[in-house]
Every structure is written in structure tokens, then in C-alpha cells.
Chain length 332, copies 2
DNA sequence: ATTGGCCATGGAAACGTTTACATGGTACCT
DNA sequence: AGGTACCATGTAAACGTTTCCATGGCCAAT
């Protein structure tokens, strides 16, 4: 590999000058800069990222830390988010290093160590529960963080998400407007803030219509298709007055759809079902799912953009709400 | 950050001994090793990846180079593959750095430069066409490569894929066994070896049944749902004798399904449709797609495993065929 | 004409590792 | 007892950058 030394020799200057010229420092004569640029190009020189990071004590790499990256996922959330992160990162010459935190994958090190070892410029965290073992240490550390779908409880870190409460309220209001009065809600997991936000939206809509809140209408699906299926399979026959189920995720809505089919309950005639996320399968479900669309690519892009702003010390808001869309299909 | 120096001071030894102890060199007394390990743990020491890579001239990072990572993909191939790569990489303490090559994303540098700058231990390449601008340079370079779904034309590099020709033959034989004699084939793009392999399998099956090959039955879908839709929309009405279409990808099969629906052609009664890949949507299509299942997570895992073997100089075969499964659903 | 200041460039340190080589002690062999 | 060989440990160089500080030339001001 050709190093800065080779360029220096070739251009008959010192390595210091080469470094300055290549990094756009002002104090280099135009003539020498040109000579250096020419030499660099001729020798096909590309700076060694590690040497640079070592001296700068900071790499030009974003960490993308995700929880729940596992085989056979029924959605492309990670991929879609990655596209957005990648798009922004590549526009500013940054790379993306992956880290998956998975309970059944015993890593020898935590993502905190991971971030430090590679002197990451910043990390984007997605899908993590706030009760995670290392969460506190990470966001209290010295490495800039942007959280996707997690609340930022410190002004030092960023947070990006859609307005989950508003979206959930919107969806519930849609059901209410169509005459539904006994609407069950399938929650995800309590440790995920999006889940509680969506519950809040659901409750707010009921309240707006002056409806009493029935705790027995809150079902627990753990963001899992199977758990939702099980929960609803017992619940629906026992509560025939329920005419609609609003699910905090499409995956759970799919489970509800499956249960309804097995119970011979017609969707949407006898039961309206609404999901959340608009994963790929939502449009292909039978019937196609009415749901809240969130654009994970946008979410990723905005997260990366915010991260870069934080790194650059820009004084920008550290919370960003990305628009969502309510999509009416056939299920409710 | 605590460095090796801190550990050395704390354990009252030189940094060289610390390095040796931590890297499991044999020539360290058990007593000092223990003392060093204790010191490292107490100080929460983690070696700086960049400093290490710099002196070793090789990082412990795999590059994952993909073509066609874009917003709104209708499949999770990248994500699924990533899971497999990640699983193996993390088991050996390696990380994954992403690189997307995309025509509409003008990167300032090529993936060859990318790999060199980061002194990647190796790269896994997926989705690339062999006529790519940098392909030759990359696989002829000094960085170990494993290709997914690309033929390895050199013994220095690895290649992982399913047996595309056999799978395509299997699918075509299935149609033939069900009485179909006029079977059209929807190809992907000629520059993708999987596409030509699948063509070969299709032709081999026809040949086995002693059927003449009709060039007009070869449709061009460019691996695109819309292109397949367009191609078949003209073709089907003009060729009523055709009773089956075998597509080199599920996405194209989806396009065919859509066209058939619009042409009021019943699938599978009037037209059998078979796809390839078994993407998530295949099972949810209407009717559910009969297709060839390939496990991208396995593919990724095997690619990473092979890459590591190559790096370690293991003398293993540089071509690996991962099992596929033919899945009969409702479409053909 | 001398001095002061600015500016382009160079020298060298520093970043945190690994590792080749040097060193000194201990145990074994003759 | 003297020498030798081995083994644990230390010293220092090297990896390729960036950047602080030094240097020297040139121009302008007195």
C-alpha cells in the first residue's frame, strides 16, 4: 500500500505538507497543493483509516447497534433502517459498523466496549429496551448516541421516532369513527417505549369519545405473532362484544388475523383489525392490513443526520419526529 | 480510555508482557499472567482496535459489500444474509463493516479503496455483476474474498451459493411432471450468474423430456417485478398454449401473478407460476407461490466461515454449495 | 538598511499496539 | 564449578497518520 510518505517523496515535500494539502488546510500554496494532489492520484493514495483514527482518537465510523437481529424475521426493519443510515453516512464519508445485541448470542464484549475499541464517532441504537444491561453506561458515556424509538432522557443524546401516541390515537379514532365502541388493544412489551406510547394514544382516543377504559381489553402480545394469536384466541370467543382489535404491531395483527380465520370470524365484517408499522407483509395479508406506516429508511437517515450534527457540535434539537401515515386497507 | 500502559503499570510489568499475556502467548509465567489479567479486568481494559490493526496491517473486520441495497426492497435478502455473516463473525470476534455499491449513489471511493483503507481481513461480496467496474481489481487484489452467488473463477477466492441449475431443473421437472409442456421461463439479467444457471436448469429439464426449446418462451424480467409484469402481459395473450411460467425470482413471479390477475387468468388452474428464492412475500402471495427456498442466513454464515478459513490459510474447498428446498404451495 | 511579522514548509512527537531483539537469571549438564 | 541453553521479561522500533512547534524566506514598515 502506498502511504503518505510515498506521496511526500513523489511530490518532494514533507509528509506534514501532504497531510495538510489533502485535508484542505489553508496554509498550503496552491502550486504545492496541486503537485501533491497529482502525486496522490498518480500513486492511487488513500489514507489509512486506522492510522488516522489512532491519532485523532476518533474514527469516521458510525456504530449501528440493534437488538433483535435474528434469523427468519418477518420484516425488513433492520434492512430498511440500514439503508437510511447508510445513505446519510456515505454522503459524509462515514462507514457503518454493525453490532447486534442478542440474548442468545453471548458476545464476549458489550456494545460499550465495542464502541470504545473502535473509537466510534457515534452510535445509532435501535430496538433496545431501556432496561438493557449496558444501556445506561452507553448513553452516559462519552460517545454520541442517537436512539431510534427510544426516549432521550438526556440532552446529550438524540432521539428519533414517529409520534407513536398520535399515530395510535389516529388509528383508534378511525375505528371509533366507524362505529366501533368495544375496541381491544394488543400491546407489545412494556419495556419498549413505543409500546407504551401507542397504548397512550389508544387510551386518549377512547377518552376523547368519553368511553370507559376496560383493563380486560388490554391484551399482551409481546410484539410476537404467536403470542398475539394465543392471546386473542382465548379472548375473542369470551368477549363477543369486541368488534375491533388495534395491535401495536403488524406482526401481532397477523397473529390476530390467523386466529380470526380459525375462529371463523370474518375480517373486517365481524372484526376490524388494525396494525402498526406497515411492514412488507401488511399489504399482502388477507385481508390487507389497515395500519400506520412508518418509514424506517427515513428514520435511519434522520438518525444519522442528527448524530452527525451532534458530533459536529451543531446546536440542533435532539429530538426529531418523523412523519407517519395512516393507511386504510381492507382489515379495518 | 485505559491503555495497555495503564495495565502494565498496574501489574508492574512492561507493556510487552501485557500484550503477550493478553494474547495468550506461551512464554508468560502463570503468576504474571494472572496478575495482568486481574489488572486488565480491574481497569476495564479493552485493546484499541485501530492501534492493533495498524501494526498488524490487518483489522479484525469483514467487509460486507452489497449491490442493490436500496429503499423499499421487497425482500429481506440483505438482512437475512447479514444475520448469517454476523453470527459467524461474532463467534470469532470479528466485526462487520458495510459497503453498498449503488449506481445512483456516487461514492467518492470504490470498494477496493474501502477495503484497503480499513485493512479489512476479508470481504464478502453479494449481488454484484461480474461486469462491475471494480470487480476484477477486488478479487485480484490481496484481500481475501468470498462471493455469494457469483462464480469463483480463481482458486484464491471463495464462492458460496445453492446449486441454482439443479434447483431450476427440479422446479421445471415439477411442472413437466404435472403435465405442462409449454413452459415459459422468465430470466433475470444475463450478467448475474444465478440467472444463467437457472436458465441452464430449465433447459436441462426440457431436454430430459425431449422437448424442443423455443426461444420465444424466454422472457426477460430483469429481476424486476414491473418488468416481469410488462413482459408477460404482452406474452400471455399472444401465446395461449403456454400453461406455466417459471420465474428466476419470486419478485418476477409476483409480477406475473399480478398480470395474470389483470388478464383474468386463473392461477394455477389456467397458468402455473413458480418462483425462485422464497422471499417472505412468497408464502403470502395470492395464491401462495410454489418456489425454490434458499436460506440466505445459511449462505451468509457459510460465506463468513469460508472467508475465515481462507484467511487462516486452511486448505479447504473454495466452493460451497448450500442446500435448497423446493416448496410446493398453490401457484403451481 | 535593518527589523518585525507573516506564512509556507519541515521536523518530530504522539496515538496504542505488536514483535524482533536484547538481557539476565535459573537450571541442567559435564 | 563453569558453561550453556532456555525462558521470562524488558527495550525499542515500527505501523501511518495528524499536529504542535521550529525554521527560514519574503515583504513591508520604520
Amino acid at each position: 500500500m502506498t502511504s503518505i510518505k510515498d506521496v511526500a517523496n513523489h511530490a518532494k515535500v514533507s509528509i506534514a505538507t501532504v497531510s495538510r494539502a489533502l485535508n484542505g488546510a489553508s496554509n498550503v500554496t496552491e502550486a504545492t497543493r496541486k503537485r501533491i494532489l497529482a502525486a496522490a492520484k498518480e500513486l492511487n493514495y488513500h489514507p489509512n483509516a486506522m492510522a488516522r483514527s489512532l491519532v485523532e482518537k476518533k474514527s469516521r465510523i458510525f456504530g449501528y447497534i440493534i437488538s433483535g437481529l435474528k434469523k427468519g424475521a418477518k420484516h425488513c426493519i433492520v434492512q430498511d433502517t440500514l439503508v437510511g443510515i447508510y445513505e446519510y453516512a456515505s454522503s459524509i464519508g462515514y462507514e457503518i459498523l454493525m453490532f447486534a445485541v442478542d440474548s442468545n448470542l453471548q458476545r464476549s464484549k458489550s456494545y460499550v466496549d465495542f464502541a470504545n475499541e473502535h473509537a466510534l464517532a457515534g452510535v445509532i441504537i435501535q430496538g433496545l429496551r431501556t432496561d438493557d444491561q449496558y444501556y445506561r453506561e452507553m448513553i452516559d458515556g462519552r460517545i454520541p448516541c442517537v436512539l431510534i424509538d427510544l426516549p432521550a432522557d438526556s440532552s446529550r443524546i438524540g432521539s428519533v421516532s414517529i409520534d407513536n401516541a398520535a399515530a395510535a390515537k389516529e388509528a383508534t379514532l378511525h375505528l371509533l369513527a366507524h362505529g366501533h365502541r368495544n375496541i381491544a388493544f394488543m400491546t407489545g412489551v412494556d419495556e419498549a417505549s413505543v409500546s407504551t406510547e401507542r397504548s397512550l394514544g389508544y387510551l386518549a382516543a377512547l377518552q376523547q369519545f368519553g368511553l370507559a377504559i376496560k383493563p380486560e381489553y388490554l391484551l399482551h402480545g409481546n410484539f410476537s405473532e404467536d403470542d398475539a394469536y394465543t392471546a386473542v384466541k382465548d379472548f375473542l370467543p369470551a368477549s363477543p362484544e369486541v368488534s375491533a382489535v388495534f395491535c401495536a404491531s403488524d406482526l401481532m395483527a397477523l397473529g390476530v388475523l390467523r386466529a380470526a380465520k380459525e375462529l371463523n370470524i370474518k375480517v373486517p365484517q365481524e372484526l376490524a383489525v388494525i396494525g402498526f408499522d406497515d411492514i412488507l407483509l401488511a399489504a399482502y395479508a388477507d385481508p390487507p392490513l389497515t395500519t400506520v406506516h412508518q418509514d424506517f429508511t427515513d428514520l435511519g437517515f434522520e438518525a444519522a443526520r442528527m448524530l452527525y450534527n451532534i458530533i459536529k457540535g451543531q446546536d440542533v434539537p435532539h429530538t426529531r419526529t418523523v412523519p407517519h401515515t395512516f393507511i386504510v386497507r381492507k382489515s379495518g
